[in-house]
């Protein structure tokens, strides 16, 4: 173990800190040198190029390696200048023109300009690069036009309301065009170059990712509270097993770590050395998607019974403590477009049992599962391994067994196996959701041809509704109304069992100050972090 050694040296440095501080304060306003921070990640992504990969985890370090054209203010939700100082949207919503900030340089010395923007978007849209998320976030964009050295126009086929939201996220962060060209889509993830407050130093998969302060950073957006980072070096390490996270924090291996189990969070919150921030994550709740193409969940009455037969509040209390709210619809409560009104109803086992009877599933005399003729009421539940899905799955399975079903629960060990199980189609319900600030993230899940349309439900009206909502770029009110209507349809068809609005329980040492998160919830503003001695 090299870690304790380094820590020891660091402590030695700390002992001298008062002298050094005095010296530094005397000659410069620069923050004290040698400040290192260790940050615990909770999932080791398969790839970390934000332009190509889709993981949320990659954004935790990389949101501070890249700047985006615009930033979204976490307090007001408004878009503020980033690498673009000004922008305008044409009246028909088909052209977004951006005036770019001058005098910005990438970490490798390349100048940031209009050609760089075009090179980035072209890289993302290149079909050979198989972007899993960023390309989809650009929606109907068909071309970026360079109008001048520091002026670009984005041309769209159709109006697209999420455009600025997309451009404010790390997935469309601006990378050095020369680095993109040098390394190409296979290697670039190990050599990322942006303009952000931190430089990408090294990434060893499953081991560590290291960032260092960008000494030239002088273009912080107004949402950052510091003009430049106070930390010199941040090392990210992976703690996939939830049981290890609180221990890593208490043992001093990390200064910040996310996704603490709630019982551990309770314990840490009581201690004077640590603090716990519950961070709301917008997007979809933890949910189970019903398979509408396979019996018995092809019958909406059965799906409704399976919703009503589960005490979601109790499950959320048990698995997530008092930190999370039970979900009531296809969007979590902190998401734009969420409507509290068409809510999935609470626990009602009597009605659930009645519905199953109506659907023809009768209790059998000798105990055992309900039957319809020769068929037994058998349900297959498949859940991913992350985010307490296995725990939720166990309690949901137990609740469905109470209703008289025989349930087979399978935990797929990763996204690959989960997607395989989905492709085999032998599930009644499957756990999957995505995160984000714009409700257009629903489209892949509910559009007839959507990549995540794992319910198999196809309805041209629902498609049209989502399309219209995505196009309503000039009227947030209209969008909200449309998403409310959408939520009603999802409930009336009982396409999902919404369980829990995501809350990320982030634990940190009391020495850490200024920990804030972007509107997406997962991504910290590393630029604002400070470490008290």
């Amino acid at each position: 173990m090299q870690f304790p050694k380094r820590r020891g040296a660091w402590r030695l440095g700390l002992a001298c800190a008062p002298f050094l501080l005095g010296l530094v304060a005397a000659c410069a306003s620069d923050p004290s040198p040698g400040r290192e921070l260790s940050y615990g990640l909770t999932l080791a992504p398969t790839g970390i190029d934000p332009h190509i990969n889709a993981s949320v985890e990659l954004g935790i370090p990389l949101s501070s390696v890249y700047d985006t054209l615009v930033f979204q203010d976490p307090d007001t939700g408004a878009y503020v200048p980033g690498l673009a100082t000004d922008w305008s949207i044409s009246a028909d919503g088909l052209t977004y023109s951006f005036v770019l900030r001058e005098q910005v340089v990438f970490h490798d010395g390349t100048r940031f300009d209009a050609d760089a923007v075009k090179a980035n978007i072209d890289y993302v849209l290149d079909p050979d690069h198989r972007s899993q998320k960023a390309a989809a976030m650009l929606g109907p964009l068909h071309e970026v036009e360079v109008l001048g050295s520091y002026e670009v126009a984005f041309h769209l086929d159709r109006p697209y309301a999420p455009m600025l939201d997309s451009l404010s996220q790390v997935y469309l962060g601006m990378a050095s065009p020369s680095a993109l060209e040098t390394w190409g889509p296979a290697e670039y993830q190990f050599h990322q170059v942006g303009t952000g407050p931190f430089r990408f130093i090294e990434y060893l998969p499953n081991d560590r990712l290291v960032l260092e302060r960008n000494p030239d950073y002088a273009w912080a957006p107004e949402i950052y509270r510091r003009d430049a980072p106070a930390i010199d070096r941040i090392t990210f390490r992976f703690f996939e097993d939830p049981a290890t996270r609180a221990l890593a924090l208490e043992g001093g291996q990390v200064d910040i770590i996310g996704e603490l189990p709630h019982l551990e969070a309770d314990r840490l919150a009581e201690s004077s050395e640590f603090k716990v921030d519950p961070v709301l994550i917008p997007g979809q709740p933890l949910q189970l998607i019903f398979n509408t193409e396979r019996t018995p969940t092809d019958d909406p009455r059965v799906r409704r019974a399976l919703v009503l037969g589960v005490d979601r509040s109790r499950i959320v209390d048990t698995v997530f403590g008092g930190y999370s709210a039970a979900a009531v619809g296809p969007l979590s409560a902190s998401t734009f477009g969420f409507a509290a009104d068409p809510a999935f109803p609470p626990y009602d086992p009597e009605v659930a049992a009645e519905l199953l009877e109506q659907a023809g599933w009768a209790l059998s005399d000798g105990g055992g599962p309900r039957r319809m003729g020769d068929a037994e009421l058998q349900l297959g539940l498949v859940v991913p391994p992350w985010g307490s899905n296995p725990e939720v799955g166990q309690l949901v399975a137990a609740a469905w067994e109470q209703l008289g079903a025989e349930v087979t629960l399978t935990v797929a060990p990763g996204f690959g196996p989960l997607n395989e199980a989905r492709a085999q189609g032998e599930y009644s319900a499957i756990g999957m959701n995505s995160f984000g600030t714009d409700p257009d993230l629903l489209r892949p899940f509910y559009d007839s041809e959507g990549f995540f349309n794992w319910s198999g439900f196809r309805d041209p009206e629902l498609d049209a509704l989502l399309e219209e909502a995505a196009a309503a770029f000039d009227s947030p009110d209209r969008r909200e109304a449309l998403y409310k209507e959408f939520a009603e349809q999802v409930r009336d068809q009982w396409l999902i069992l919404p369980v829990r609005d995501y809350v990320n329980l982030v634990g940190s040492s009391q020495r850490v100050e200024g920990l804030r998160f972007s509107p997406q919830g997962w991504f910290p503003y590393l630029n604002d972090l400070e470490l008290q001695p």
């Binding site: 019982l263 725990e391 166990q394 137990a398 067994e401 087979t408 060990p413």
Partner: protein, 258 residues
Amino acid sequence: MIAKRLAWGWLVVMLGIALLAPWLSPNPPAQSLFDPLAPPGPGLPLGADALGRDFLARMMVGARLSLLLTGLAAAVTLIVGGLAGFSAAIVGGRYEVAINWLSNVLLAIPGLLLAMLFVAAWGPGIAAVILAVGIGFAPSFGRVTRSIAKSLLEEGYVMAAQAIGGDRLWITSRHLLPNSLPQLASYAGTYFAWAFLAVTTLTFLGLAGDPSIPEWGALLDSSRSHLQSAPRLAAAPALAITLTVLAVHAIASKEPVP
């Protein structure tokens, strides 16, 4: 002798619990009826697990699962290993060489690794665990069987049986099987203990696929997260596994089981 009696006592109690679990258990093992990690109290001797389920009820159903899975896995070992060993000894020739070679190859891979390879190939699940453990131990049991059978083949009465023209099947059933049983039974006990440990190890690693299965290894795995706040949840299955393995070893070792 006292150790052996204690061992039998423990096993009989475990078997009783395993057989009668659904009737003995005070609460349904899968339902969340209590607060998460509720401490032990009246009617809840081991408290509740992190999902609010009666932990004693889960341990009881777990006894049934652990013993059943191990029993099936051991049966696979005995049948596959026994058949291969006997047939190799009796048939001899190239067949024996082939069987030897195959078991050498399999023995070169550590048993647990072999079992994990099986699970990786078939995908997680109870059946995979049973087959993985069963087949994983088969080569070494096959070897033992073969050497016992071979030594019996040298005995005078077996040679005599061959001399009067008895065929292989008759010799096997009349002489080899009955005379090797006492030794094999002792080995079988040892293999049961190993299989028990292997099954609980695989479920501890989450290879049973379904986390709600209260098999002791799986219980130990899920309790691991709460070692600090509720050590009893890890201690109970760990102790149960240790005592069961010790008990089986104590009974199987030294003298043959009557």
